[in-house]
């Protein structure tokens, strides 16, 4: 024997307050409904419709998705049957969000909530979330995921339209706790009797518009919402991993070039320069010839002086005795020191060195031309030439280029998270 398939009769009735005609979409699930004309809240749980609450001339709010609109979520058609505005007050400012009640006679009820262009697809939790802590803060654990506590507030129902499977009332207050783990949000609603948990998944306005086939453009999202997924999520870790690999390669290169260089002292000679006589006698001279052997590599020329509160400039040339090919270079050396109110200070250095890269092997000499203030005292200095000097300066120049991308990504991610948590109970400025 087969029971005949029956469809529940569509309930149609007249509003006991204004007489306006009403039809219910939520079958016998509907326990209360709001008259479209006079906005009275009606108790529909019985054949005899009773008025639960009369509309008190508060401002009408227009749902951006009209009641009766059908859309597809997760492959199932849902119909918008209810709409409510809920308001919280934080530090004297009211914030309101909208909730759409969606219905499918087989799959039941779910909600779409929206605030400032951000959307969430919300369903009741099947399991019971457990209290937890994350980083010393309140958190909730649900199905192996930890949600950080975001906000506690009293949420008041401030406007209703459509129909609901419970007795809805304007002015009703519940304590609301939100926990986030983007793109998910976990909410606990507590009245004086019980706690009801729900689970939301972030949606963009564009997704809602496409699922519900709505005309025009969705309102633009402003700011960062509590459970809005960060565009940088996962990127920070990934880019630092890549950077670590490059840093390891870089470090190996530095060590390789450093160790493989012989850095052999091939010339070492002390001189004295008398600036006062430099005008009369030619200051320029050439050193004895020295051998630069082996592969083409760097040459390091170090100048050590005994300058005291003075400066000197050394014009130098490293010249190949056989070919006459020369490498011209110059180096300033200056050293100042003194004592002031902050204590003793120094500026500059008595010694400087210059590295000439890629010098072929051969017999070389230096042409040296010191220069200093004509009134300065004599300068003693020492010239040291080293063959196959470690040439890692260019590697140091590479370093910032390796580090800039991960630092930029980290900063952007931190700023996104900062904007998210600025709206929470844990904003840095609030208590």
């Amino acid at each position: 024997m087969q029971a005949p398939a029956q469809k529940p009769a569509v309930r149609a009735f007249a509003c006991p307050n204004c007489g306006g005609g009403m039809e219910l979409r939520g079958f016998q699930h509907t326990r209360s409904a709001v008259c479209i004309q006079c906005l009275s809240v009606l108790d529909t749980s019985d054949e005899k419709i009773k008025i639960l609450q009369k509309f008190d001339n508060r401002q009408r709010v227009r749902p951006i998705i009209p009641l009766g609109t059908r859309g597809k979520l997760h492959g199932t058609v849902y119909e918008v049957i209810g709409f409510m505005v809920r308001t919280i007050t934080v530090e004297g400012t009211q914030y309101s969000w909208h909730e759409y009640l969606l219905f499918n006679p087989y799959k039941g009820f779910r909600y779409l909530t929206t605030y400032e262009g951000h959307w969430n697809d919300v369903v009741p939790c099947h399991g019971l979330p457990a209290a937890a802590t994350a980083g010393g803060r309140k958190a909730a654990k649900y199905l192996d995921r930890t949600y950080k506590h975001f906000q506690n507030a009293m949420a008041e129902t401030t406007f209703v339209m459509g129909e609901f499977p419970w007795a809805v009332k304007v002015g009703e207050k519940v304590e609301n706790d939100d926990y986030v783990s983007p793109p998910y949000i976990l909410s606990a609603e507590r009245d004086n009797k019980e706690v009801n948990w729900s689970h939301g998944t972030y949606m963009t306005g564009a997704e809602v518009w496409s699922h519900f086939n709505l005309p025009g453009q969705p309102p633009p999202a402003s700011g960062v919402f509590a459970n809005q997924p960060s565009p940088h999520q996962g990127r920070v870790g990934r880019i630092w991993k890549t950077t670590l690999v490059w840093l390891a390669i870089w470090f190996v290169a530095v060590v390789f070039f450093g160790i493989s260089a012989q850095n052999k002292l091939v010339f070492d000679q002390a001189y004295r320069f008398e600036p006062r006589t430099a005008e009369r006698s030619e200051a320029s001279f050439v050193t004895p010839v020295f051998e630069l052997s082996g592969r083409t590599s760097g040459v390091d020329v170090e100048i050590r002086t005994d300058l005291a509160n003075n400066w000197a400039v050394f014009h130098l040339a490293l010249i190949n005795e056989e070919t006459g090919q020369g490498f011209d270079f110059g180096q300033d050396v200056s050293f100042y020191s003194g004592v002031d109110s902050d204590g003793s200070w120094t500026e500059g250095s008595r010694s400087e060195s210059v590295t000439i890269p890629k010098v072929p092997s051969g017999r070389y000499y230096l042409r040296v031309e010191p220069e200093a203030d004509a009134s300065a005292p004599a300068v003693r200095y020492q010239l040291q030439v080293r063959r196959d000097a470690p040439h890692v300066g260019w590697l140091m120049l590479v370093l910032p280029f390796l580090l800039i991308p991960p630092i930029v990504v980290s900063l952007r991610s931190a700023s996104f998270e900062g904007a998210r948590w600025a709206e929470s109970d844990y904003a840095p400025s609030s208590d």
């Binding site: 009820f109 399991g127 009797k193």
Partner: protein
């Protein structure tokens, strides 16, 4: 026990799908028939059930876990939020269970022996926890309900069920579900889990015009 019997009121043939059924309704004369040993006894007339928005009906078929079932009976309760159904499921291996259906949210459970002594009705408190081998359960909802009516076959007789009954709903972190039913003394424990409409793979559902 025989699967076929005659209605003690009108004589029509009554077929039992569930061999251990204790109560059924005669499909012809709407008598409530209770089976005692081998006899059938008419104990009253079937009360009209309220219009039901559930997509499930008698003889709907589905799957829990990997066991196929057929709906053979239904109990309806009324409570603060309206009505809910307890669908009596008969599995192909002749075991039974219940599918609760309230506002199109579904929970499956079956009668189990309580792992520990269940609290007395007056000692129930929301938030109290039970550490059982099946998991840690927390009492989330206390519902006072009234039996409204039945259809199909039930494993017990419903006569005398007119008092308000307390049901304590328990949930675990992993969506396990339990109900302590205080309609009997000592109370009964039903245990199972919250299920989704899709996983039940239901067939022979009610059709809704426009859906």
């Amino acid at each position: 026990m025989s699967r076929l019997a005659n209605c003690p009121s009108c004589g029509a043939q009554v077929q039992f799908r569930f061999a251990q059924a204790v109560q059924t309704a005669c499909p012809y004369c709407q008598s409530v028939i209770v089976r005692t040993n081998v006899d059938l006894e008419k104990v009253g007339e079937v009360a009209a059930l309220p219009p039901d928005p559930s997509p499930i009906q008698l003889y709907t078929e589905g799957i829990i876990g990997n066991k196929a079932f057929q709906v053979v009976g239904r109990l309806t309760y009324s409570y603060e939020q309206g009505f809910w159904n307890e669908w009596h499921l008969l599995f192909h291996d002749n075991t039974t269970g219940w599918l609760a259906d309230a506002q199109a949210q579904y929970a499956y459970s079956q009668l189990v022996a309580p792992p520990s002594r269940l609290p007395a009705k007056g000692k129930l408190k929301r938030g109290q926890t039970f550490h059982w081998p099946q998991g840690e359960f927390t009492l989330t909802h206390l519902t006072v309900a009234r039996y409204v009516g039945f259809e199909g076959e039930l494993p017990f007789a419903t006569d005398g069920r007119h008092e308000e009954t307390v049901f304590a709903d328990l949930k675990s972190p992993t969506a396990a579900f339990a109900t302590i039913d205080y309609s009997e003394d000592p109370p009964l424990l039903f245990m199972g889990r919250i299920v989704t409409f899709d996983e039940l793979q239901l067939k022979n559902l009610k059709m809704f015009e426009g859906w």
